[in-house]
């Protein structure tokens, strides 16, 4: 199929598809006039029932916590898939190369940034039920703290800080922990992922019941998954540099 034919086919079809999509969205309520009921019901009941202030997080880890289980495992499978696709490099078990020489200023900034990022990550995770944030966002920030160690010039340090078995362990227990919390509810005679445990006082760190554990589990899983993805990609890069390519 020639490129010209492809473009022609696409152009004609895309016009049709765009027209369809526009026709579809024209049937939506006007922007700003969300009709409900789902979201309005949750906004009305969640703060009282769940003792949380952030209804989005309550939706993510409680009302629709089962979706988030799937979401955790999407990220988990993606990290595993990346490891599988890039496995030839990983298998080679090489000694990490010497670090590139970076200026002291870069190194200093990096070293100073790490504790800030760790603290920020933990803060974002912990305040998930109160203010914007939660396991996913905090987990990525935590993973980025490790990345900064590398960018500041310490690839060896990055690898030492993230030994593969430890990352695997954290990742597996984060993802598995989510399932275990769900099964615990089952053992207590409730539905899978039923929110048990004290709900706490709205607006404090201990609010949210066992959904707090889900938040924590997903933070571990997300941080480890991102570290794993960064590591796999990083190994590729280091490998290319070793061969003098770049």
């Amino acid at each position: 199929m020639s490129r010209g034919f492809r473009l022609g086919l696409f152009a004609a079809s895309a016009v049709g598809l765009a027209a369809l999509l526009l026709w579809g969205v024209a049937g939506l309520p006007d922007f700003g006039h969300y009709a409900g009921p789902y979201g309005y019901v949750l906004n009305a009941v969640a703060p009282n029932e769940r003792h949380v202030t952030n209804v989005v997080t309550a939706t993510v880890f409680d009302y629709r916590g089962f979706d988030t289980l799937g979401e955790e495992f999407i990220l988990f499978s993606a990290a595993m898939g990346v490891a599988l696709l890039l496995r030839d490099v990983r298998d080679e078990e090489r000694e990490p190369p010497e670090d590139g020489i970076r200026s002291d200023a870069v190194r200093l900034v990096g070293v100073a940034l790490v504790p800030v990022l760790v603290a920020l990550g933990l803060y974002v995770v912990a305040h998930g039920f109160i203010t914007p944030g939660g396991g996913f966002q905090g987990g990525v920030v935590l993973a980025s703290a490790f990345l900064v160690v590398w960018l500041a010039g310490e690839y060896r340090a990055f690898r030492r800080l993230t030994p593969t078995p430890a990352v695997d362990l954290v990742k597996g227990s984060g993802a598995g922990g989510y399932v275990v919390v769900g099964l615990a509810a089952l053992l207590l005679g409730n539905a899978f992922l039923h929110n048990f445990g004290p709900l706490g006082t709205a607006g404090t760190l201990a609010s949210g019941g066992s959904a707090l554990l889900l938040n924590l589990a997903s933070a571990l899983e997300v941080a480890a998954a991102f570290v794993l993805i960064f590591t796999e990609f990083g190994e590729e890069l280091v490998n290319v540099r070793l061969r003098g390519g770049g």
Binding site: M1, L17, V41, Y63, D67, G70, F76, L84, S173, G182
Partner: protein
């Protein structure tokens, strides 16, 4: 509340996480055993779910969030026997694949087991979920788990190319889905399918409903591989490792069609209730096109895996027809067809794997006459070829009978002969391949077939010298026998039809999901298909053998006849083959074309 409902998802996911946490230290065989046990346990649980739902659905609200005043707060699994049977089928095949992989791979790391288990959880969840967004989540989990499995053989180009076309087209499928889902949510403010159905019923359909349904349909049909959304499928299935192919071909494609049924009846059937004949024409038309294109392309293949990939497409077409008849018998027939036929397709893939493992090749022409080095594969291959061509009363025959009866019910008497003709081509091609590979019949070369594929890229590495038949051959034969015997479960067709009616009775079903009203148990609907299904099946079987002989000795036909046929057919054949270009940009252009056409036709037909 039934504790079992969450387990088909929870067991494989927890096992996958535990394997990941253990970090490759357990050793290959422990991983294998853990995988087999987890998949088998899932199969048992899903089978129990079938048995528990014989009389009424199990509606399971995760987190205990039961609906309030008809508004769903959380996510529900809506377990009914047909969906639970598909989930159980997925788990059985995963178990068989793990057993087979024991001997098949030389280097199957823990990652393989982990991704197979997340894939299984995704298939179970996708089959059982009664929530539109939750279906999307499991759809994505299926896709993401299988991306890397398809590209497992990273050392050669073809698997990577197959994995990329698969990744891109399926990612776009999910964009169609979520856009359609967003439109539905904007209209109804609901994600639960039964609640959506209540909100949409009685108001007919406007642009939004038509477009949303088009987008959801397109998303699921891309996954299923319906023409013209099918291009990625043959590229991906031809290069995925055999144990993965088994699940992709026998379950994942069919789940796409099953999903159409799961969203159409609970959610959309109210909005389209006045347009059933038009909708039927559209969907059955797409099914016939798919069955025909798949069958034709099957004939042109010499790479056995790619041949089975196109066979999958052709059978997806049959399924689309069965569901598209929009009757209880059609829906019941589709599920029985998925399972009966799925076992056979799985056994065929495993048999190709045995050839690859034993002889080091999976190419029909190069293997000519060499197949008897693996005599057990011959049994499976011939058996599978006969079952595919329709040999009654085995395999998918029960599903076929329901389809024939249902076609008659709605005045589509022309449909069974057309589909039987497709079975002549696909079955005949498989018989041809079996005869050429195992008996050495037919010409050594055939220019009509696609270009010679490169030497097999399967993982084996070392050829199987210490040939260990039981673990490779056992699963293949077991699947074939189970598939063949599946039609003999007493009263299955009648019960399945009653279960399908339950799913299709929207108001009663909605009350069951949203208010917990348990309907009275339904009695089985007798099949009474007469002798027609036998006639079609025996006819297509006999013709398939004739067609196989044609395929083997085509070049010995009189020259005049061949040149005449060549003048008529050469160009269309070249065009058809050329369309399967392997280029992802082309495929995405076809997806766009397919979605636009589907939407355009739907608009024209139902307005």
């Amino acid at each position: 509340m039934d504790v079992l409902v969450a387990l088909p998802v929870a067991i494989p996911l927890l096992t996958a996480a535990a394997l990941a946490a253990s970090g490759h230290i357990l050793g290959r065989r422990v991983d294998d055993i853990v995988g087999i046990v987890a998949a088998a346990a899932t199969a048992v649980v899903s089978t129990l779910l079938v048995l528990r739902t014989l009389d009424h659905d199990l509606v399971y609200w995760f987190g205990g969030w039961t609906p309030r005043h008809g508004v769903a707060l959380g996510i529900a699994f809506d377990v009914e026997p047909l969906s639970a049977a598909v989930a159980a089928f997925a788990a059985v095949l995963t178990t068989a694949s793990f057993v087979y992989a024991w001997r098949y791979f030389d280097e199957a790391g823990t990652l393989f087991h982990i991704l197979m288990l997340t894939f299984l959880a995704a298939m179970s969840g996708f089959a059982l979920s009664g929530d539109l967004f939750n279906m999307f989540v499991f759809f994505e989990l299926m896709t993401v788990s299988t991306f890397a499995l398809v590209g497992y053989q990273v050392h050669s180009e073809a698997p990577l190319q197959g994995a990329i076309t698969f990744a891109v087209t399926n990612a776009i499928a999910s964009f169609f889905l979520i856009t359609g889902l967003a439109l539905v949510y904007g209209r109804t403010g609901a994600l639960n399918l039964a609640q959506i159905g209540r909100a949409l019923q009685g108001n007919g359909h406007d642009g939004l409903v038509i477009v949303a349904f088009t987008l959801l349909l397109a998303g699921f049909l891309i996954k299923a591989g319906v023409v013209p959304f099918h291009f990625w499928l043959s590229d991906a299935y031809a290069v995925a490792p055999i144990p993965v192919c088994v699940l992709l071909s026998a379950v994942m494609s069919d789940l796409g069609i099953h999903a159409v049924a799961r969203i159409y009846w609970p959610a959309f059937s109210g909005a389209f209730h006045a347009d059933v004949p038009e909708l039927r024409a559209l969907i059955v038309g797409a099914g016939v096109l798919t069955a025909a294109v798949g069958a034709a392309m099957t004939f042109f293949q010499r790479d056995l895996k790619r041949m089975l990939a196109f066979l999958t497409i052709s059978h997806v077409g049959v399924l689309v027809c069965a569901v598209g008849l929009l009757t209880a018998r059609g829906l019941a027939g589709s599920v029985l067809y998925v399972i009966g036929d799925g076992f056979v397709k799985a056994a065929l893939f495993l048999a190709v794997g045995i050839l690859v493992r034993r002889i080091g090749d999976g190419d029909e022409l190069r293997l000519r006459g060499r197949g008897l080095d693996a005599p057990l594969a011959a049994v499976v291959f011939f058996g599978g070829a006969f079952l595919v061509s329709g040999l009654p009363p085995f395999g998918s025959f029960l599903g076929w009978s329901l389809l024939v009866r249902s076609s008659g019910d709605v005045g589509y008497g022309w449909l069974p002969p057309v589909l039987a003709l497709c079975a002549v081509v696909t079955g005949g091609t498989l018989v041809r391949a079996s005869a050429r590979v195992f008996l050495g019949w037919g010409d050594a070369n055939d220019p009509l077939l696609s270009a010679e594929p490169p030497e097999s890229e399967e993982e084996p590495g070392e050829r199987e010298s210490r040939f260990s038949p039981p673990l490779l051959f056992g699963p293949a034969l077991a699947l074939l026998i189970v598939g063949a015997g599946f039609s003999f479960v007493p009263g299955l067709a009648g019960h399945a039809t009653a279960w399908a009616q339950r799913l299709q009775d929207r108001p009663t079903h909605a009350a069951e999901v949203l208010a917990g009203t348990v309907p009275p148990p339904a009695s089985p609907v007798p099949l009474h298909a007469g002798l027609a299904p036998y006639g079609y099946a025996i006819g297509s079987w006999v013709l398939a053998i004739g067609f196989a002989v044609f395929g083997l000795y085509r070049q010995r036909l009189p020259g005049l006849l061949r040149r005449g046929a060549g003048r008529v057919l050469d160009r269309p054949v070249a065009v058809l083959k050329g369309l399967h270009s392997g280029i992802v940009g082309d495929y995405v252009a076809w997806l766009t074309f397919g979605a636009a056409t589907l939407g355009g036709l739907l608009t024209l037909l139902v307005r």
